[in-house]
């Protein structure tokens, strides 16, 4: 009986089949399933997408020739993309990495301000950041200039002598042009911010007059030009405006911040799913930085 099983044609067929399978295995390797990645399937729905993309750019439907051209571009793109993946470029290539990172950031930015904020939102932002919008100190003052170039060493003495007279006489602003020396500066300055005073006279003068009590002639105050006698007429302290006064500035700042915040938020959300582990070399570096 044994001998007949071994000799039976069925056994021979099965054995031959097994041998063939082994041979194929040796020659071609195990079936990988990669064949699927090398098969690019284009369907009618791809054509619909190509048409739509074309129409968005061109504001009209493509002709058949144009559609065929888009199709060729799509096939080219898909094939090269698959090959790039097969070669591991998404993992190893610097340029591709960077593009992928940029893609994530663009995603984040588009999550930023989706639509213009409401008045309530603007008010809330303004309340949160109100120091930024505080209106600067404003000064109104009159000044008289004494030229070191013209008067030499005696300039301070001259200024002090004039100061006494000014306090005594207290002339009208219109009459002040007759006092002191001529310079390409105004006599009367109204509602000037610190920036404006700094720009016109320099830091030292600005700091000097901020310290003056309004209402009387003081000085001499030094500037980039020489010496000045100054009477501060009015001083408006730094104040917070109403949100309506600075609405468009607030809006611009909100948009600016939203884009940055969205990027940061997206990163933080994603980073939570990752665990960053350092080896001892890196730990040493981090410790020396902190320590």
């Amino acid at each position: 009986m044994k001998r007949s099983i071994l000799r039976s044609p069925l056994t021979h067929v099965l054995a031959l089949g097994a041998l063939l399978a082994v041979a194929i295995l040796i020659v071609h390797g195990p079936p990988t399933g990669d064949d699927e990645t090398r098969r690019v399937v284009i369907t009618g729905s791809d054509l619909i997408q190509l048409r739509a993309a074309f129409a968005r750019t061109w504001q009209r439907e493509p002709t058949e020739t144009e559609l065929r051209g888009e199709l060729q571009k799509l096939i080219r793109e898909e094939v090269l993309y698959r090959e790039a993946l097969a070669r591991g470029y998404d993992r190893d290539d610097v340029v591709v990495r960077r593009a992928m990172q940029r893609k994530m950031e663009f995603l984040a930015e588009s999550q930023g301000l989706r639509q213009p904020p409401s008045d309530e939102e603007i008010q809330a932002y303004f309340a949160l950041r109100r120091e930024r919008y505080s209106l600067p100190v404003e000064l109104s003052f009159v000044q008289i200039y004494f030229s070191r170039d013209a008067r030499g060493q005696g300039v301070e003495g001259d200024a002090l002598a004039s100061l006494e007279e000014l306090r005594r006489i207290d002339p009208d602003p219109d009459a002040l042009v007759e006092w002191g020396d001529r310079i390409m500066l105004d006599t009367v300055y109204l509602d000037q911010t610190e920036q404006q005073v700094r720009s016109a006279f320099g830091d030292e003068f600005c700091a000097g007059i901020l310290a003056l009590e309004p209402g009387s002639w003081q000085g001499p105050v030094r500037s980039g030009y020489g010496l000045h006698l100054v009477k501060v007429l009015a001083r408006q302290d730094s104040r917070l405006p109403e949100w309506t006064e600075v609405r468009s500035r607030v809006l611009a700042d909100m948009e600016f911040e939203a884009a940055g915040a969205a990027r940061e938020q997206l990163f933080q959300e994603i980073a939570q799913n990752y665990r960053v582990v350092f080896d001892s070399d890196v730990r040493r570096l981090l410790e020396t930085v902190d320590g």
Binding site: A53, T57, W58, E77, V95, V96, R98, A99, R102, K103, F106, S147, R148, D149, V177, E178, R182, I183, M184, L185, D191, Q195, R198, S199, A200, F201, G202, D203, F205, S223, G224, Y225, G226, T244, E245, V246, R247, S248, A252, F256
Partner: protein
């Protein structure tokens, strides 16, 4: 080190792209509807106005990430940031730091290159078809060599007519239109009449055969074309002018401001037009209508004159630029490349042919590619993204085959205008009537008037400026003298309180004698002493700078005034005068950098400079003759 191939690049890219005719198509587009103005804030203050005019300082030449040559040096800031910076707010810088001006400017015009404006940035946007261009990955790389070699490829493709294989031209057009809208919207958003003025503007980047013929186009108001006229359509100035002339009939005023004549190989102020034909009266009129102003100083040096052309001007060797833009090919100092010789050429034409195409006014600006105007020597933050972003990079900069060293750059210049108010209309009109001056970066204020009968004691009068306007003409003007009279000049300069004191004021005179142009310089006011009538020069000054601390040694004058008569005035000759105000020496930016790094200032470069201002000239003619 870079960014300058932009000129070759753009010049040729543009001509390449022209083959497609794609860009020329846009000329037929109808005018865009005026952009709606943003909601105005309630303001109870009227705009401050001074009929005797104030001096306002600004920059009319700044690039942002919308310019391809700024983008490839990693600048990512946009027009919005440029306006914030000009207003005194901090903005991001390529180095990772934030940068901030020591003082805000009064006005700014962002002038991104119109050629493929916004296209480079779009290449980094995955939702834009341009990001699928082969070149996109390299253009958006953060490696210097990669971006610049990609840029060169774009240029090469452009010049060989193959730009269409590299960039989807059709997608580019859409991107350009929306980038231009961004430019417009940012200018509208930041315009605060009376406080800060913005101008919608762009740069027309023509550079045939690497001769720099760039102009900045400045619009007076908000009514602007849907896409700017670029050198892609034509690189001939006459065609730009035709575009401007057409636009004026449809909208508000617009003008073009040439810059970097120093790199134009003599072509900016040539004696023939783009077709090689000699000028005629019509050409002269068109030129002055369209280009009433010239930018005399900026990052790429000053264009006043050159020691080879002005051997008797001891101050002629100031921030010289001696190569083309975008390459290292040296340029010769020829008359067609400098402002002073242009004025002289104009006078010769006036004498010979009765017209003068070179009666332009002067401004300065920056040409920054960082969305910023780095005007301060002591706070120089570079102008070309990662090419000069830190002191280390700048001081170790070497010339490459494509560009010159960063050390050859100047810190920015400034535009000064005398205007009744800080508004678009007032400042633009000042540019038009040439009541402007350029500086090398300081905020020197200078008045310059000429009249037939100014009294000798004019400077001492309380209403000196008012009288000067009444009986004379200001800078930029034409003085018509009755016969048998001679001009008297009134100059008044005020120092910049944050820079050095003034050293002297000079009047530069140009005239024609026996058919030839001549120039002479007269010192008219000195910080110490008075000019010697025999030499026309101030006494030697000992003012200097301590090179370890950059503190000036020597005071300088807070202000200088002069009444001056020309000792050699001849009514029969065409003549022109402009004032030059010079500060005491201060450290050049390269010296500041060296001090911060604890090294010696770089050899081969001046350690100090004398900042200065140049006024627009006054042309003088006598009734009986002289033009």
């Amino acid at each position: 080190m870079n960014g300058f191939h932009r000129c070759i690049a753009l010049g040729s890219l543009i001509s390449g792209l022209t083959c497609h005719g794609a860009f020329s198509r846009v000329e037929a587009m109808p005018a865009a509807a005026p952009t709606a103005l943003p909601e105005q804030e309630a303001s109870s203050d009227a705009i401050p106005t001074n009929p005797l005019k104030e001096a306002y300082f600004g920059d009319l030449h700044v690039h942002t990430a919308l310019s391809i040559d700024a983008f490839i040096t990693q600048t990512r800031t946009l027009p919005d940031d440029a306006y914030r910076y000009a207003k005194g707010q901090p903005i991001p810088h390529v180095s990772g730091e934030t940068i901030q001006l020591s003082r805000p400017l009064d006005f700014l015009g962002v002038t991104d290159h119109s050629e493929i404006i916004g296209v480079a940035r779009a290449m980094g946007d995955p939702s834009n078809p341009l990001s699928k261009s082969e070149i996109a990955a390299d253009i958006t790389s953060n490696d210097y060599e990669t971006t610049h070699s990609a840029f060169r490829r774009v240029v090469a493709a452009g010049s060989s007519g193959e730009a269409g294989t590299m960039i989807d031209i059709q997608a580019a057009v859409g991107t350009m239109r929306s980038a231009w809208q961004e430019v417009i919207e940012a200018a509208e958003r930041h315009y605060e009449p009376g406080t800060f003025t913005t101008f919608i503007a762009y740069e027309w980047t023509s550079a045939p055969n690497m001769a720099n013929l760039h102009r900045n186009v400045i619009f007076r108001g908000a009514n602007v074309p849907p896409i700017p006229f670029a050198s892609t359509t034509s690189s001939r100035p006459e065609d730009l002018w035709r575009f401007l002339e057409n636009w004026r009939t449809r909208g508000d005023d617009v003008l073009a401001i040439p810059h970097n004549s120093n790199a134009s190989k003599g072509l900016m102020f040539d004696l023939v037009d783009s077709d090689g034909a000699p000028f005629d009266a019509e050409y002269a009129a068109r030129r002055m209508l369209n280009e009433p102003s010239v930018e005399i100083a900026q990052f790429k040096g000053a264009s006043e004159t050159h020691p080879a052309l002005s051997p008797n001007d001891e101050l002629a060797g100031f921030e010289l630029w001696e190569t083309v833009v975008g390459g290292t090919e040296p340029v010769e100092p020829v008359p067609g490349s400098y402002v002073r010789s242009a004025y002289l050429r104009g006078l010769v034409l006036q004498a010979e042919k009765g017209f003068n195409p070179y009666t332009f006014g002067l401004i300065g600006s920056s040409d920054s590619h960082n969305s910023s105007s780095a005007v301060d020597e002591f706070n120089f933050t570079g102008g070309h993204g990662n090419a000069d972003m830190t002191a280390e990079v700048r001081l170790n900069s070497r010339p490459s085959t494509l560009t010159t060293s960063s050390l050859n750059f100047s810190a920015a210049g400034l535009a000064g205008v005398w205007a009744e108010a800080n508004t678009r209309e007032a400042i633009f009109d000042a540019l038009r009537r040439k009541e402007t001056f350029g500086t090398s970066g300081s905020r020197i204020k200078v008045r310059f008037f000429a009249g037939a009968d100014f009294p000798d004691d004019l400077p001492a009068k309380a209403n000196a400026v008012e009288l000067a306007y009444q009986s004379g003409v200001p800078m930029g003007g034409d003085l018509r003298l009755p016969s048998e009279t001679s001009p008297r000049f009134f100059v008044w300069a005020l120092r910049d309180p944050l820079s050095a004191g003034l050293a002297r004021v000079q009047v530069v005179k140009g005239w024609v004698e026996e058919g030839e142009a001549r120039e002479a310089i007269f010192d008219v006011a000195c910080a110490e002493g008075a000019p010697d009538p025999a030499t026309g020069r101030c006494p030697e000054s000992a003012a200097g700078v301590d090179l370890e601390t950059c503190k000036p040694t020597g005071e300088g004058a807070a202000q200088l005034q002069a009444m001056w008569r020309d000792p050699q005035f001849d009514a029969a000759r065409p003549v022109v005068y402009y004032a030059r105000v010079v500060e005491n020496p201060t450290c050049r930016w390269s010296t500041w950098d060296a001090i911060r790094l604890g090294v010696d200032p770089p050899t081969g470069y001046p350690a100090t400079i004398q900042e200065r201002a140049w006024t627009s000239p006054i042309w003088v003619a006598t009734e009986e003759g002289g033009g």
